[in-house]
Amino acid sequence: MSLDTTTLFAILAMAVVTYVTRIAGLFVADRLVLTGRAKAAFDAIPPAVLVAVIAPTALTTGWAEAVAAAITALAAFRLPLLGTVAVGVVSVVVLRNLI
């Protein structure tokens, strides 16, 4: 078990930066009173960010991943979260062997 000094400082830098991003929202939240379109835009943040994170994997990796993502999306409206993940993982394995 070793802990390199430079590695430790890099980890600490990553940790501090990450924590700052986590609490920064607390400073802006109090000043936001939103209605109408602005509220719709603000409410769209959750799905918009989640989709942006996975879009490259789901859409541009290959047909197996794209089709598996579509199957997962259909499953997502009918199954609980863990079932959805299982359907996604199984379908990508099957499709990678077929395509």
Binding site: L3, A13, M14, V17, T18, L50, A55, G88
Partner: protein
């Protein structure tokens, strides 16, 4: 809604709800955590370094990106900047969630250490019905933190024994998990427009420019699309 009821039963109920909501996410995160530990070991990090990083940083996307480009000695400023870009979304997430939590200012500053995509998405969903309490949030965040820290450390110890993660589809678990979380936001017209715009722009930017720019640009496109798609007058 719970103000009149005694503190302890509410507290326990909130903890139970947090554990129930985070359980499937924690299970789905196990292969991802093992994968992270294994990949980090392959890049030359020790199991202790992997565990310390997961415990202190606790941000999967940024950690994967850092390990992807890891060299010795570690380029501290470059890693810090990449981490800032990838985690910039936390600012919006925190601002969105902050008015929906029932916590004191100090509680917020301490407990928002546990802010992750998953815990946040579950809380936003819960906030549609009721305020998010500190007990709910910390139960959820704490389990996910312990899970991520332990299994990424275990992944580092197991290292190369795990074999190819793509063979068992473990690399897709993260994508499937996020699709499941997005579905929780419903199928309204505005949501569908948001998802389509975000997915299209993120995929194009990732293809032509590269990571991590696709996250910010895709998210922004989705938010703008929601603004344009929504009715102009105030909604309830």
């Amino acid at each position: 809604m719970d103000q009149a009821s005694p503190f302890a039963p509410t507290y326990r109920r909130e903890i139970r709800a947090g554990l129930r909501d985070i359980a499937p996410v924690a299970v789905a995160a196990i292969p991802i955590s093992l994968l992270f530990g294994a990949v980090a070991t392959a890049k030359g990090l020790s199991p202790l370094e992997v565990t310390v990083m997961s415990a202190l940083v606790f941000a999967g996307g940024a950690q994967f990106a850092a390990i992807e480009t890891w060299i010795h000695p570690a380029p501290i400023l470059t890693l810090a900047f990449a981490t800032l870009l990838i985690n910039a979304r936390h600012v919006l997430m925190g601002a969105s969630l902050s008015p929906k939590v029932e916590m004191s200012r100090v509680q917020r500053f301490l407990s928002f250490f546990f802010l992750t995509d998953e815990a946040w998405a579950l809380s936003e969903r819960r906030a549609l019905d009721r305020p998010v309490t500190a007990a709910y949030w910390v139960a959820m965040g704490g389990v996910l933190w312990a899970n991520w820290t332990f299994f990424s450390g275990l992944g580092a110890v197991l290292g190369s024994f795990l074999g190819d993660p793509e063979r068992i589809g473990a690399d897709f678990a993260f994508t499937a998990l996020f699709i499941g979380l997005v579905a929780g936001f419903g199928r309204s017209r505005v949501t569908l427009v948001t998802v389509a715009a975000s997915a299209g722009v993120a995929a194009l930017v990732h293809h032509f420019i590269g990571a991590p720019w696709h996250v910010a640009s895709g998210a922004l496109a989705g938010i703008v699309a929601a603004y344009l798609a929504a009715p102009a007058e105030a909604r309830p």
